[in-house]
Amino acid sequence: MTRLSSAFSKPHPALVCFLTAGDGDTAANLDALVAGGADVIELGMPFTDPMADGPAIQAANLRSLGAGTTTADVLGIATAFRQRHPDVPLVLMGYANPMVRRGAEWFAAAAKDAGVDGVICVDIPPEEDDALGPALRDAGIAPIRLATPTTDDKRLPAVVEGSQGFLYYVAVAGITGMQQAAIESIEANVSRIKRATDIPVAVGFGVRTPEQAAEIAQVADGVVVGSALVELVAEHGADAPAKLRELTAALATAIRAAR
């Protein structure tokens, strides 16, 4: 059993927590997420042009790059995390260009060496899978695809095909950190996706509070929280770990009580 499949085999839905690498003291912040009860860590690779992100994560990307974060730094953060937390799944999330810059095979091998379990690439849809997917699968890293409210039944098989680890359902047609979708729409879409695949389905985009997380936990295998955590890093700087742990614990408690 892989680290990712273990995380989704717990008696409760998985809490997936996102932070941008290199924004603040990432090691301390990630440790706080784990201590608070995060089941999966999603580590954002900063990019100059984060087209799918709202203001909070855009700003985190710019802060990180402004502090001089390089790809080697991101991989270093992952490597150190893996040494501290041998069992917590770690997923890299980001955009295609920094991932393919030195070649897909180079990136897949480097991520594997760093102990990364999965990769979410926002701007590589199934139609362009060749650009990264085969290299990830060959290296034993799960390519985690995104499904959205616009992914109709006709497209769904193509999205599911070749996806591993979990499927990330983007609850709103839009960017990260904005409004939440109606729970009825999330429930209908998650069950539609689950009819098409056996891999777990986690739901993200617009999930900020324990109440929202609990609601989604009733209908999905995982809940992804990003912008609300990233905002804590922006607001509290060196004091962020305590705040991150507090919110993560509240989210984890809510999710565990949901079912």
């Binding site: 990019f47 042009d49 087209m51 260009n97 393919v100 616009t150 047609a173």
Partner: protein
């Protein structure tokens, strides 16, 4: 690399030009991109679509644009005959409108009721606002806050035409950031919104359809040249930012083996530093804004900011078909500095009584170099893709003139 039988059959069915192009977009946009392709194929097969497009180009845009022999410039340069395709005489003053007419007709075919676009210097924004006013559709233009500040006349033009201009403050607040913001709007409004992309770049089918709409330039020029001189030109020259005016001129000639082609990038302060906008000559292949192409980027794949005196060439990418044509060797690419473009700008003003935009001034600078190396029975045809009214403030500042 083997030479194909034709250079005019790209892209393939997946929207790839060799290694370049494709559909690198967020999943939310994929269904829409696939719909757009389907609708474009239907429009291509529909004589009524072509008839409406042609009618608007003739009576609204003012096509065909003239083909003009620049006699005094030719004399001044002392070499090949220099001819211009006068796309600066189009309604709104540049080639951009050709594409906007085509795309807004597609938007209406798809039942979309809201238009968005990005703009750098404001030329594409003005052209988009123009067609939106013409067809009564609401229009939002994303423009970097830096560009809003330095292109005030075009901002006012867009507002006069009824568009909402949204200043973008993220990143460096220039064209690429405006494009990011346009894409963010689009993913949140896919149900009713059409994104009119301003150059032959972005996810498939945009590079193809923009090229096709702009190919009116080359089709007219080819026929005009044959009818005026009985022969084809020896060399085509066009400036390249994203590359739509160049592809529009080049594409209809790609299978004429005796016609050489030269694309001219912006070298800014020079190619040896990083203050230029020459993606093909100074960049590396990568993925941005929906396509794989040459990009200005660092060793980690972070996009770097280009510089050019011309805000219309100041983009860190390039249309994917140019990337392919470069690798195939069918088109030659060169670059011209800010200072060379500024000299060419003044040269054309004084020899021909034409104030060119700073974008084609780059092409004219390259023409000036090449013409001298060619015989006087040879013909250079350059695309004069925009007029310079918008640029007089920039030029005055560069020349140290107070207005």
């Amino acid at each position: 690399m083997n030479s194909p039988n034709s250079f005019r059959t790209m892209p393939d069915e997946r929207g790839h030009f060799g290694d370049y192009g494709g559909r690198f977009v967020a999943e939310t946009l994929m269904p829409l991109i696939l719909d757009l392709e389907k609708e474009y194929r239907a429009a291509q097969a529909d004589p009524a679509f072509k008839a409406q497009f042609d009618d608007l180009l003739e009576h609204y845009v003012g096509r065909p644009s003239p083909l003009y022999f620049a006699e005094r410039l030719t004399e001044a340069l002392g070499g090949a005959q220099v001819w211009f395709k006068r796309d600066e005489l189009n309604h709104t003053g540049a080639h951009k409108i050709n594409n906007c007419i085509g795309q807004i007709l597609l938007a209406m075919r798809m039942g979309k009721t809201r238009i968005i676009a990005e703009t750098g210097a404001g030329q594409h924004g003005v052209a988009t606002a123009t067609v939106c006013a013409r067809f009564g559709l609401p229009c939002v233009i994303y423009m970097g806050a830096t560009d809003v500040a330095r292109q005030a006349p075009n901002v006012f033009r867009m507002k006069l035409l009824g568009a909402e201009v949204v200043p973008v403050t993220s990143g460096a607040a220039t064209l690429k950031d405006a494009m990011n913001e346009g894409l963010r709007d689009w993913v949140a409004n896919v149900h009713d919104t059409f994104y009119i992309i301003g150059t032959a770049a972005g996810p498939h089918p945009y590079p193809e359809l923009v090229r096709d709409f702009q190919s009116v330039i080359g089709k007219e020029a080819r026929a005009q040249m044959l009818s005026r001189t009985g022969r084809l030109p020896d060399l085509l020259v066009a400036a390249i930012g994203g590359g739509s005016n160049a592809l529009g001129l080049f594409h209809p000639f790609l299978d004429d083996p005796d016609v050489a082609m030269l694309g001219v990038e912006a070298a800014g302060y020079g190619l040896d530093g990083d203050q230029h906008a020459a993606s093909l000559l100074g960049g590396f292949p990568g993925v941005l804004h929906g396509n794989k192409t040459y990009l200005l980027q660092d060793e980690d794949g972070q996009i770097t900011e280009g510089h050019s005196i011309s805000a219309g060439l100041d983009y860190p990418g390039i249309g994917p078909e140019h990337a392919w044509l470069k690798d195939m060797g069918r088109v030659e690419y060169t670059a011209v500095t800010d200072d060379e473009a500024l000299d060419a700008f003044q040269l054309l003003c004084r020899t021909e009584g034409i104030i060119p935009a700073l974008e084609p001034s780059h092409a004219i600078a390259a023409v000036a170099k090449r013409a001298k190396e060619m015989r006087d029975d040879q013909i250079i045809l350059a695309n004069l893709c925009g007029r310079g009214d918008k640029d007089i403030f920039t030029v005055a500042e560069k020349l140290g003139v107070e207005m």
